[in-house]
């Protein structure tokens, strides 16, 4: 796959991007493997098993009632933000990859709440792959 030079300019010369989101160029690869975009998630029904991928924006680990750690992970693809909840059963195997990741892909169950399913999130079942390493090698 050929990565347009705008992407290289954006992500290696600047802190912000003027051109397209890198996920746009990776989308054909992910699409073949059944990954959905943030926009497509809004069209899918509650409870469906989904796969998503995106650049890691933030990880929030607020205090919880049970004392167990929940990681609230936000990814970004070319169509929007994707919010995931990662519980201890997933952290047990992939916490290190998630915390040190840049481009991550997850499989999980779609949660839709509120009128018309406005609040969309995913309860992660597993980390499909931490693609940061291969991506960086590829870009270099």
């Amino acid at each position: 796959m050929k990565v347009p030079c705008e992407i290289l300019m954006d992500y290696y010369m600047r802190e912000v991007g003027a051109y397209d989101h890198p996920m746009k160029f990776l989308r054909p690869v992910f699409e073949k493997r059944g990954f959905l975009s943030a926009l497509e998630l809004r069209q899918k029904p509650q409870g469906r098993k989904v796969r998503v991928a995106g650049l890691l924006v933030m990880i929030h680990t607020p205090p919880t009632r049970s004392g167990r750690r929940v990681m609230f992970v936000t990814l970004e693809d070319e169509t929007g933000l994707i919010d995931l909840a990662v519980f201890e059963n997933v952290q047990r195997y992939w916490a290190r990859e998630i915390l040190s990741g840049g481009l991550l892909s997850f499989e999980g169950i779609l949660q839709k709440e509120g009128k018309g399913g406005r609040s969309v999130s995913i309860v992660a079942r597993r980390l499909v792959r931490n693609l940061s390493g291969p991506l960086e090698c590829f870009m270099k």
Partner: protein
């Protein structure tokens, strides 16, 4: 255990940063275990730990002796102990003089002479010229070196007898003879920088951190004798029982000084005429201006608030804040009120807080007859212009004000990094140690964290026992000081009566008191905080002005349907208080339709409610999926707006007021007691008071128990409604701007620095998704900030690596002087920019005539 008469008078704690190995609580615990009745805290050039040490000592029945260690011009350290208030002021003045010297801190003999009243001096201890001379057997030299101190302090000079190194035995003999000759007493005083022998290794690590991290030329203490001793141990080491006894005598001599803890010390402010009359006049005038005719409810409320404020002697304080606010308004600095003060009609009228009657806010949550502490009026200012307000205040009350300081403690990550560097690990290895290590472990130790956190399962730290041990000892210890985000102390008199001060890089005076010290001393602290969202709103306004659109943030409607539609869509990235993933999720579930819904959303999105099932129940009841019930029919008017659930702290006050007949002052005291950590005994006392009150109001025991259980469950989670209402106004302002002026709003966010949770790239990606063109940086169009261009956003030049603000200014100056650059070559000739700067501009397509192609 029998009382040990010995008192440690020279003690350097962890507030002598990266030197002492213990905090104030550990010191007090150790003193108790040694059976001693008093101890001093004498950190180098600092009283940072003094107030909390006094509090801890008082709680444990130990006498606290306050002092500090200062260096003289000849490099000798002396210890000064405070005898009285005058002495404390003098100590603060001497510290201030010493630390204001650039380079090496010291005080001259002349300065010491001028400010010696009320101080006891211990000289000739470790690290003094006198002792060095005595070590060498130069008795005459040692005697001469003490003459200036003898003249200054007279009977208040004491010569230290210590036992740190072998030569001290000889030196003690010589110094005892000199003391006898002068007619002054000797005092046994081993300098203490650690509690026990084994802490020497931690001290050495701390010194190595100073060397590696701060590049200081410092040396560790030479042996384990710099620890705390019992009296008999010290008699054994020094052979001077009378000198050990003198330490106790000195502690008695200075016993008169204690911090005035638990009393209020409001500033005395000069006003023209009586402050009460002036405040009342201003408030009534403002009410008349705002409403004509004045509704009786407002007038009655205002008179009630004025009565309480005047009776508590707070009019001067309100007038000071009003003057501060007037200054900000005159200078065009955007500000807003936060905190419980937003529940006051006086604050609404004079400082533009939310309307407490319209939003049903309670004044008594802010001020009531039962509260003995100073009320807070916290104001948020445009963060880029906050310093102008601080400067005005410090100029308005010269010598009475200083910024509050903050003590930073070691967090686990910094402790591992710095200890590893001190122990000589290479940087790559240190990075491996700290990879995936959180900044804070929320109360668990590093060893436990390595067991519990899966990301640390294979951490190389696991095989580094020594490093982990040091990091665990460092975690929580004071590390360095800095300036509090916005706290300014307004003292009733000279600030030096309360703390030493030093200049910050911005030219402000900063005290050595942190926010807890200020509260303990009952001083007035004004929180002049910076809010980046205000900066973002101002910059949005400026971006709109470039397009000839005039927008006044104060006139933004709070009931705009399109704004609520945007909020309900969860498309709230950049919207104040509603942009985090959790908040976006909650607004989608709540589907806000009016101002009160936003107030509830802000109050519900807190760790307490989120941890409990409060949010879930609130959402279900709001959407009719669970019946709305009330703990008691009489509480329906209080809890109707929140579907029978206690969401606000004000509702706890109202429930207790209505159901138990408590006054608001009693109800607020009850609420605060319920919010704190409670013992079983304390809980039983609160329950009994509640039951008695309910019985008095004619309620059955069963009903009272049901209501109490509800109040007990939710009291700790309640959020201040007045604060939420004040924030909700800013939320709606930012959401309105995003709805109606998205391009300019994104520019405002991007130019205001780090406003919320998201990096600039995410904000720009959203802008692009909304169809707003984003143009790359270009030498002919870009500057130092994001600017509107047509319907899009032009990126600044300084986001390109290697291009700093200085280079951008150079490019812009030349462009303004001689017009656009025609080609890359012309650009090079006109700006003389070469090398990697030119290459960076070239490769990113920022030069004319060069367009990137895929």
């Amino acid at each position: 255990m029998s009382r040990d008469r010995f008192v440690h008078l020279e003690v350097e704690s962890a507030y002598t940063f990266l030197h002492g190995t213990f905090d104030e609580n550990a010191l007090v615990e150790k003193i108790k275990r040694l059976g001693q009745s008093a101890a001093a805290l004498t950190d180098r050039w600092s009283i940072h730990g003094a107030v909390r040490f006094s509090e801890s000592a008082r709680r444990n029945g130990i006498q606290s002796v306050i002092g500090a260690r200062l260096m003289l011009g000849d490099g000798s350290w002396i210890t000064l102990l405070v005898k009285d208030r005058q002495g404390f002021r003098n100590l603060n003045r001497l510290i201030t003089l010493g630390i204001s010297r650039k380079g090496r801190h010291y005080i001259s003999a002349c300065e010491l002479r001028m400010h010696a009243t009320g101080l006891v001096c211990i000289a000739a201890g470790f690290q003094s010229r006198t002792r060095s001379l005595a070590w060498r057997g130069d008795a005459n030299g040692a005697r001469i070196s003490l003459i200036p101190l003898m003249r200054i302090f007279g009977d208040d000079l004491h010569i230290a007898i210590c036992s740190h190194v072998r030569e001290d035995r000889k030196a003690n003999r010589i110094l005892s003879e000199i003391a006898a000759g002068f007619g002054v007493k000797t005092v046994a005083s081993n300098l203490a920088a650690f509690l026990d022998e084994e802490d020497l290794s931690l001290h050495r690590v701390m010194i190595d951190i100073q060397k590696n991290h701060h590049h200081r030329d410092v040396h560790p203490l030479p042996n384990t004798s710099f620890r705390l001793f019992s009296g008999p141990e010290l008699i054994n080491r020094t052979g001077c029982p009378e000198a050990v006894d003198t330490a106790g005598t000195i502690a008695e001599k200075v016993a008169n000084f204690a911090f005035p803890l638990g009393k209020l010390h409001p500033p005395l402010l000069e006003t023209e005429g009586k402050p009460d009359t002036k405040l009342s006049r201003l408030a009534l005038q403002a009410l008349a201006r705002k409403m004509a005719p004045v509704p009786p409810a407002y007038l009655i409320r205002l008179l009630r608030e004025l009565e309480v404020v005047c009776r508590k002697g707070l009019s001067g304080f309100f007038l000071l804040v009003k003057r501060l606010h007037d200054f900000a308004e005159k200078m065009g600095i955007i500000s807003s009120i936060r905190g419980s003060s937003a529940g006051s009609l006086i604050v609404h009228l004079l400082l533009n807080g939310p309307d407490p009657i319209r939003h049903d806010l309670l004044f008594e949550r802010f001020i009531n007859e039962g509260r003995g502490d100073m009320p807070d009026i916290d104001i948020d200012f445009d963060s880029e212009r906050r310093d102008e307000v601080t400067e005005w205040l410090t100029t308005f009350l010269p010598g009475q004000t200083a910024l509050v300081c903050t003590i930073h403690s070691f967090k686990v990550r910094s402790a591992v990094r710095l200890a590893a560097r001190a122990l000589g690990y290479p940087l790559e290895e240190i990075s491996r140690f700290t990879e995936c290590l959180p900044w804070s472990l929320r109360g668990i130790g590093l060893t436990e964290a390595m067991e519990r956190l899966p990301e640390l399962r294979d951490s190389p730290l696991r095989s580094e026992e020594r490093l982990v041990r040091f990091a665990e000892r460092l975690e929580g210890l004071p590390f360095q000081k800095s300036v509090h985000l916005g706290g300014v102390i307004v003292a009733p008199n000279d600030i030096l009566c309360w703390s030493p001060v030093e200049h910050t890089s911005k030219g402000f005076m900063v005290s050595q008191l942190d926010k807890d010290d200020v509260d303990s001393l009952g001083l007035l602290k004004l929180d002049l905080l910076g809010l980046r969202m205000h900066t973002a709103i101002r910059k949005t306004k400026e971006a709109l002005a470039e397009k000839k659109t005039i927008m006044d943030p104060g006139s933004i409607p709070l009931n705009d349907p399109e704004t609520y539609r945007l909020i309900r869509s969860t498309d709230t990235l950049g919207v104040f208080q509603l942009e985090s993933p959790g908040q976006r999720n909650l607004v989608g579930r709540l589907a806000p339709e009016k101002f009160e819904d936003i107030v509830a959303e802000i109050s519900l999105f807190r760790p307490g409610p989120v941890k409990s099932d409060m949010v879930e129940r609130y959402v279900k009841r709001r959407h009719g999926k669970e019946p709305v019930t009330f703990p008691h029919p009489s509480l329906e008017p209080v809890l109707r707006e929140t579907y029978g659930i206690i969401v606000f702290q004000e509702q706890v006050l109202e429930v207790v007021h209505v159901f138990c007949g408590f006054s608001y002052a009693e109800a607020d005291s009850f609420r605060r007691a319920m919010t704190r950590e409670r013992s079983v005994l304390e809980m039983a006392r609160l329950r009994n008071a509640f039951m008695e009150g309910a019985k008095g109001m004619g309620h059955s025991r069963k009903a009272a128990e049901k209501v109490f259980e509800r109040v007990a469950a939710f009291a700790a989670y309640g959020f201040c409604k007045a604060h939420a209402a004040a924030f909700a106004e800013i939320t709606l302002q930012s959401a309105y701007l995003k709805t109606h002026y998205p391009c300019e709003f994104y520019i405002g966010l991007l130019n205001a620095g780090h406003v919320g949770s998201y990096p600039p790239s995410v904000i720009l990606n959203e802008a692009k998704r909304r169809g707003i063109p984003v143009y790359p940086p270009h030498v002919n169009h870009s500057g130092t900030g994001y600017v509107p261009e047509g319907s899009g956003i032009r990126l600044p030049l300084n986001i390109i690596h290697h291009i700093g603000p200085g280079t951008v200014r150079r490019i812009m100056t030349e462009r303004h002087r001689n017009g656009y650059y025609g080609s890359a070559e012309e650009f090079r000739q006109r700006t003389s920019l070469r090398g990697r700067v030119f290459a960076a501009l070239m490769v990113t397509g920022a030069l004319p005539g060069r367009r990137m192609t895929a």
